[in-house]
Subunit: 228 residues, 2 copies
Amino acid sequence: MTKAIVLCSGGVDSTTTLAIAKAEGYELYALSFDYGQRHRIELERAKAIAQFFGVKDHRIIQIDLRQLGGSAMTSDLPVPKDRSGAQMGHGIPVTYVPARNTIFLSFALAWAEVMGAEAIFIGVNVLDYSGYPDCRPEYIKAFERLAHLATKAGVEKKLRLKIKTPLIHMTKAQIIQKGHQLGVPFHLTHSCYDPTPEGKACGHCDSCILRKKGFEEAGLKDPIFHVA
Amino acid sequence: MTKAIVLCSGGVDSTTTLAIAKAEGYELYALSFDYGQRHRIELERAKAIAQFFGVKDHRIIQIDLRQLGGSAMTSDLPVPKDRSGAQMGHGIPVTYVPARNTIFLSFALAWAEVMGAEAIFIGVNVLDYSGYPDCRPEYIKAFERLAHLATKAGVEKKLRLKIKTPLIHMTKAQIIQKGHQLGVPFHLTHSCYDPTPEGKACGHCDSCILRKKGFEEAGLKDPIFHVA
């Protein structure tokens, strides 16, 4: 079986991505990060989701992005609430974590090289995405090119690792529909940037707003509870 | 003053790179990694070196590469000893750490973005380099391209971050001569992949052999003690 590393945050997008990788017949290796995020509940959800899909292995890498600062996700800066779609479409918000996807993909690349995996799956998308630069197709292409030059397998021409982004051109509603078709356990997923201490979704951050809108447009009921 | 992030391993190459960045007038931000390497003594040396050069800040990032395995540097695999230049020039050795420079540069990119640094310095070189894929100019170019696409500053066209590799085409002897001219404290540097518990250099790994040969060819005396 061909191996794939799948980045798993415990959210709707990465969980749907995991379901797609499974449907494509890959042997699954899930990778998550404990990076000092304020929404650490997502790691518990990622574990449950990895187990649900019967992944071959799930690693959680500890990295301290708080040491470098620069984001509302890893500091005490407030998470923006109740922004409209127009506001989200304008500029890069404070929830952006500098170079996060580059760091995550670098670790995935290391593990892919060690395991001989042929693909890395990442659930980025350009629509409904909150404006992060490292979610765009041109960024992903540049990382794939880097991966070919960075690795032993690439240099020895044994393997051309693919960075797979099956959701990249999908809306949140389309992602949710796709996940629904593939049996994604949405009740296990977590999206909120600023959950309550008990892990409940705030209902007002960009991520909650996009999730609510996505379920509505998909004509499906979200099984998780939003505070308001 | 223009800010630069400098990757500091405590070795001859990164220390000479730090001296060059200082000579070019940058305000220095040193970045080191505690990645489960068997030669952790290098972190103590990196601290002393950062202090010597009066860097503005020095961060040591903890990351556990042992969790991903695949290298003699982060596992119990034996470090190769007494290899000839021809052997070193042939293939990629077990001391290669998968995707290490990609991971290191990703963190440097995150810090550069937070600090508004204009350059990242890394002491890679293609000659006398033990055959690692992520030390080649084409790899560095690909990372620079990625950096422009990955960051807020790049997207907003405010900054084109440079990845600076002043040693890339230099021999070890040339690096040592350059370091000597710039007052590099070679007595503080550490190169060995497999030091004794007291931190003495083994004298037989690729890195010790390249260092010894470099000092000989540079016509200089190495102030550090090799076991044999």
